[in-house]
């Protein structure tokens, strides 16, 4: 573990610990995971905050995300440039939010962003359709998709404006027993 010191300064580690739900060991492990994605891009020395982005192709191939139907969205939401290319900060951010320590509210917030495909701060019908098609791999017929979307909107849309706002979403999610 001799190289531990050279990756981050203690202050950096400290700050990361404040900003994420991880311990220093986990942060280092995550860093190595990050680096393993693209060893030729990521330097081993982060003390001077190099500006490195790992492109989405690498991020998406991680086992954690590989089979996730929303992997592209997740990467987009958490990356700073909105295209899935992640810096180490984004990377840590993503794992922090997805970790089990993160509170429900925070998760709900990011979940909302993930499901909000067109970034208009509302989950509208097209978002729902996309979500559903991703979840079922387009195995539902058009009519079925329509029906489900209508039901979802009917159930969760509190202010009846035909789309789900963040509050609607949080309200709905807060009651869900299975939301992790």
């Amino acid at each position: 573990m001799g190289n531990k010191q050279t990756i981050f300064t203690p202050q950096q580690l400290d700050a990361y610990q404040y900003c994420t739900y991880f311990t220093r060991k986990e942060i280092l492990r995550l860093f190595h995971r990050y680096r393993d994605l693209a060893p030729h891009l990521v330097p081993l020395d982060y003390t001077d905050q190099p500006d490195v982005r790992v492109p989405y192709e690498f991020i998406g191939s991680m086992p954690e995300l590989k089979d996730n139907p929303f992997k592209q969205r997740i990467a987009e939401v958490f990356s700073e440039d909105g295209e899935g290319n992640m810096t180490l900060d984004d990377f840590l951010d993503m794992f922090s939010v997805l970790s089990e320590m993160a509170p429900r509210d925070l998760k709900a917030y990011y979940a909302f962003k993930i499901y909000d495909f067109n970034d208009d701060d509302f989950i509208c019908k097209s978002d729902l359709e996309k979500t559903l098609n991703k979840l079922t791999r387009n195995e539902l017929s058009k009519a079925e998709v329509d029906l489900v979307c209508k039901k979802v909107l009917n159930e969760a849309d509190m202010d009846n404006n035909g789309r789900l706002s963040l509050e609607d979403f949080q309200n709905m999610i807060a009651k869900a027993p299975e939301f992790l």
């Binding site: 700050a15 404040y18 500006d51 089979d67 900060d89 922090s96 089990e100 320590m101 159930e155 009651k175």
Partner: protein
């Protein structure tokens, strides 16, 4: 590169005082080359600051003098004010006014003893304040809004460094400098981002200057700080601390979070020390430092704790392959392991080890010796595996323990400790299970609060009722298990999600199409009938077998089967029963989730029935043994009397030598406690064997066959029958729970059982992890763990109670054996306690206890408790009703709202009134408004053009003239305090450049 010039401009804006720093600020913008130099300057600053920090009054003249000279050179036009600095009172008044304080109290400070220069410097800084103050008043609201530009940070660092270098504050501790060095990194980071918003630069209205100005005040007028101000500062510091603590909960980007963290830390570092006063301050600073150390320690401890949680990665691996439901079993297993470790250390530390170390050695007394008749076979393997022979007379079992009141030179009261450990085992388990039941086993890893958990559980409790409220929405948003990291599992998950959607769609479309209810009902009744029969049958079978085994016990030369009949039958029932139930459950045609619950409940009933039948049969046996014991006891007493009679006849002089019989020849009773202990140990061992063999054959062998015979088989073994096994979560959990129940029951009579169990859990962790990864396939219907954990804990609690009963019954009502165990020779086991009270505690304690044990006291106490339970129950009932009522109302309100939106004319007066009454209803739209507000607030801040210019103008004017108006402007600077002390400036015309041009 526009940025450099921007910085320079800004620095100009801020005050010429910083001129000495411009070079270093430029270094900031080109950090890669000159980073070293920069740190050097910083170090210088550090030295100076720490010197300052150590002794307040020491004035490091040289640098300061140089600065002062510089300043004079550049800022000629300020001489006027510098001179006026010497008469302090007006300045102070101004300062105080600025803070909205009555000015009187503050005047005594710095001026008197301190060198003039400091004041001059202070004056200049205050001037700087003024500039910033003006900016502040515009930016008060915008502190946390939006993205701050990176250059702002550069600027800030420059100022901060400046401050550090000059500051005479005591509290500039090394820690503070730490955070500055952190800042340094951020600065290095900043230029590389490359996106600088000019608008932001032109509008330096972000919080830093205000903090800075405050800090200067803190440094310079520390003694003049009045109570109110300190309180406010304290508040702010607290706020920042809170921010630090909660920063990870903010949905910000990491960069922003880091920045805010730095800021807040710096702020806290600076001001925490300033909060104390006079002599108290050093103490305060010390306290703050200790607090920091403590926090660091806590964090390290947290790190350590996480490192100590075993098998985390193993479980995660399983989780990614099989979904969270399978992982939940392993988490449960780990939790059990932890609990058993504690029980193990209790039992071994307080009972087994003391007896082994300090008690009489093996072979010294009859209970610690193998009887003569058994000695020949005592070491045979077959005997040992039956836990007879040496095993029976070892510390593993109750009978081995001596009834000596104290053992060893420590006077360790072993019998008392034995009883206490027995009780403590249950006490501890009860506590842990109840606590975890409200916190789920997950609480080992998560850190959400208990209240959170409780709320969650309450939610779950009410969840069934609301199931249909959000069916589709939940399916849509929460059905994906984000922990899946395996293609196969993912495929299954997709399939299961699609199926579930289709199911719900069909449900929705058909919506209660009841075909032939009667047939279904009939089938369900039939199924339940069958299951009841099965349960009864299995119960009877066990009873029969136990009876038979008692008969066998009196016979010789038994076959292996006959010896182990009981265990085999019980294990077989445990294997066959669930399968049978599953088949019968097909008849019922329930929804799978409900079916799973029924299934679990039935298996539970089966196990429980078996266990209790076993116990009842065992009690029969115990009673028989007690009878037998009585006769033996009489015989041995008679023998002793005979012996003594003979002995005293032969040797009239000395009485009381024990009969010279070898301990292995003494007639002894059956020692029913050890028998019970052996039964439980045997049961546990056979349970382990069956479990492991099932895994080996049912999973591993099957997997091997399927895998390798597939090459030469008529049909596809992998796809068709028998395929690979799935991991049976419910069965495994139930097995674990029942195993634990047996441990609890048996632990009192066989202290070694806990050790065996710890070994079992440890091995099964590795074994099952391996088995599941090697030979199981993910579930076809991957379902999430969700709340079933809670269900398991409920089962565990139930089992705990049920296993508590027989043990307590035996302790309280059966007489212990007369010649074995720690309680031999006593009427009842709990007599140990009375004995201790009588002999070891002072007399009045004895009387106290006898009063406490008086029925007259106990009965009212029990009544009181019953009443309390009743009352609490009623209250909770009431709350539940109120809750339901409110929910109904909300639902109604929602429906009404929808209706009204759909056609605005429909106004049901009653419902409308209701709506008005409902607090929830009126709260609903509010968050939306709040959402928009920040944006509104942001808006003016983002258009800076005019304001920025205004500031420039302001700067010029304020630097030129120390006029009262500029000071007036500063009344608004320090945040949200009431303004209006100067009537001329109290108007809204404050904003921006309006007043200064009027001069």
């Amino acid at each position: 590169m526009p940025k450099n010039s921007d910085i320079a401009r800004k620095l100009e804006e801020v005050g010429i005082e910083i001129d000495g720093e411009v070079d270093s600020a430029q270094e900031n913008s080109t950090p890669k080359n000159k980073g070293g130099k920069r740190t050097a300057t910083e170090k210088r600053g550090k030295v100076a600051a720490s010197e300052d920090g150590e002794d307040e009054d020491e004035d490091d003249e040289p640098p300061r003098g140089r600065r002062a000279a510089n300043r004079r050179k550049v800022a000629q036009n300020e001489t006027l004010e510098e001179d006026s600095d010497d008469d302090i009172p007006p300045r102070r008044c101004a300062g105080n006014r600025r803070r909205g304080k009555p000015g009187g109290s503050a005047a005594e400070s710095g001026g008197g003893g301190k060198p003039n220069k400091r004041n001059k410097r202070g004056g200049k800084k205050q001037k700087e304040d003024k500039v910033k103050g003006k900016q502040d008043e515009k930016s008060k609201n915008s502190r946390y809004a939006g993205k701050e530009p990176s250059t702002e940070l550069l600027f800030y660092t420059a100022v901060a460094k400046q401050f550090l270098r000059f500051s005479t504050k005591v509290d500039v501790s090394p820690l503070c400098l730490n955070s500055v060095t952190i800042d340094h990194h951020i600065c290095l980071l900043a230029p590389s981002r490359g996106t600088v918003h000019h608008s932001f630069i032109l509008h330096p209205s972000i919080p830093y200057p205000s903090e800075d100005s405050k800090s200067e005040r803190g440094g310079e007028e520390e003694e003049s700080m009045s109570e109110g101000e300190r309180a406010q500062l304290m508040e702010e510091v607290e706020e920042k601390k809170k921010l630090i603590a909660n920063i990870r909960n903010k949905p910000w980007r990491m960069k922003r979070r880091l920045k805010h963290l730095k800021e807040a830390q710096l702020f806290v570092d600076k001001f925490e020390g300033a909060l104390g006063k006079g002599k108290g301050r050093k103490l305060y600073a010390y306290k703050v430092m200790m607090m920091k150390k403590w926090i660091k320690f806590q964090r390290d401890f947290e790190n350590f704790k996480t490192a100590c949680i075993p098998w985390e990665r193993k479980i995660k691996e399983v989780e990614s392959h099989f979904g969270s439901s399978v992982a939940s079993y392993f988490i449960f297993l780990r939790w059990m392991y932890g609990m058993n470790l504690v029980l193990f250390s209790l039992t071994f530390g307080l009972v087994v080890i003391p007896e082994l170390l300090m008690g009489l050695p093996y072979g010294s007394i009859p209970r610690k010796t193998v009887p003569r008749a058994e000695q020949a076979t005592a070491m045979d393997y077959s005997v040992l595996t039956d836990f007879n022979g040496y095993c029976k007379y070892s510390a593993l079992f109750y009978g081995y323990y001596n009834n000596q009141r104290t053992v060893g030179f420590l006077k360790f009261r072993l019998p008392l400790s034995y009883l206490m450990v027995g009780i403590g085992t249950f006490g501890y388990s009860l506590m842990v299970v109840i606590r975890t039941q409200s916190g789920l086993p997950m609480s080992l890893r998560t850190q959400s609060t208990l209240a959170d958990r409780m709320a969650k559980n309450a939610d779950v409790g009410g969840g069934d009722g609301e199931d249909n409220e959000f069916t589709f929405a939940w399916k849509m948003f929460t059905s994906w298990d984000y922990l899946i990291g395996n293609a196969e599992t993912a495929d299954n998950k997709y399939a299961s999600i699609t199926t579930s959607f289709k199911e719900s769609i069909v449900d929705e479309q058909e919506n209660q199409k009841d075909e032939n209810v009667h047939l279904r009902r009939f089938l369900r009744v039939l199924a339940n009938l069958l299951i009841t029969c099965t349960l009864g049958g299995s119960g009877y079978l066990i009873y029969f077998v136990v009876k038979r085994s008692q008969e066998f016990a009196n016979m010789d030369n038994l076959s292996w089967y006959e010896k182990n009949e009981l265990e085999i039958i019980m294990s077989l029932l445990g294997l066959v029963g669930p399968m049978l139930f599953e088949t019968i459950a097909e008849l019922e045609d329930y929804h799978p989730r409900i079916a799973l619950k029924w299934q679990l409940g039935r298996i539970f009933a089966l196990f429980l029935g078996n266990l209790y039948t076993f116990l009842l049969a065992l009690f029969d046996e115990v009673n028989a043994k007690l009878e037998e014991e009585k006769s033996i006891k009489n015989a041995s007493i008679w023998f002793m009397q005979e012996y003594h009679a003979n002995y005293t006849a032969n040797h009239p002089n000395d009485i009381g030598t024990p009969p010279p019989i070898d301990p292995s020849d003494v007639i002894r009773g059956p020692c029913w406690e050890t028998t019970v202990g052996i039964e439980f140990v045997k049961l546990t061992i056979s349970d382990i064997q069956v479990t492991y063999l099932t895994i080996l054959i049912g999973d591993f062998l099957r997997a091997l066959i399927v895998r390798f015979l597939n090459y030469c088989w008529c049909w596809d073994l992998e796809a068709g029958w028998p395929s690979y096994g799935e991991f049976d979560i419910s069965g495994n959990v139930l097995g674990l729970v029942f195993n634990q129940g047996m441990i609890w029951m048996g632990a009192f009579y066989a202290p070694g059982l806990v050790g065996i169990n710890v070994l079992r859990l440890l091995t099964s962790m590795y074994y099952q992890c391996w088995a599941v990864m090697a030979c199981n396939v993910p579930h076809e219907r991957v379902f999430k763990a969700s709340k079933s954990n809670n269900f398991y804990m409920g089962l565990l609690l139930l089992i705990l109670f049920l296993s508590l009963l027989p043990v307590v019954y035996t302790i309280m009502s059966l007489p212990p054996s007369f010649d074995c165990g720690p309680f031999s020779g006593k009427e009842r086991m709990f007599d140990v306690i009375t004995e201790t009270i009588d002999l070891d505690l002072p007399a009045f304690m004895g009387t106290l206890f006898s009063y406490a044990a008086n029925p007259g006291l106990i009965i009212p106490a029990i009544l009181l408790m019953v009443l309390a339970i009743y009352y609490l129950n009623a209250v909770s009932e009431g709350y539940k009703n109120a809750n339901m009522e409110l929910k109904k109302k909300m639902q109604m309100a929602r429906d009404e709202e929808k209706n009204r939106r759909n056609n605005k004319d429909s106004t049901n007066q009653v419902l409308k009134d209701l709506e008005d009454l409902l607090p929830n209803r009126s709260n609903l739209p509010r968050p939306g408004e709040q959402e928009e507000k920040p944006e509104e607030r942001k808006a003016p801040k983002v258009k800076p053009g005019a304001a920025g210019k205004g500031i420039n103008v302001q700067k010029d004017v304020s630097l030129a003239l120390a006029n009262p108006n500029t000071r007036g402007l500063m009344t608004q600077a320090p945040g949200p305090k009431p303004v209006g002390r100067l009537p001329g400036n109290a108007g809204p015309g404050h904003k921006g450049a309006a007043p200064p041009p009027s001069h």
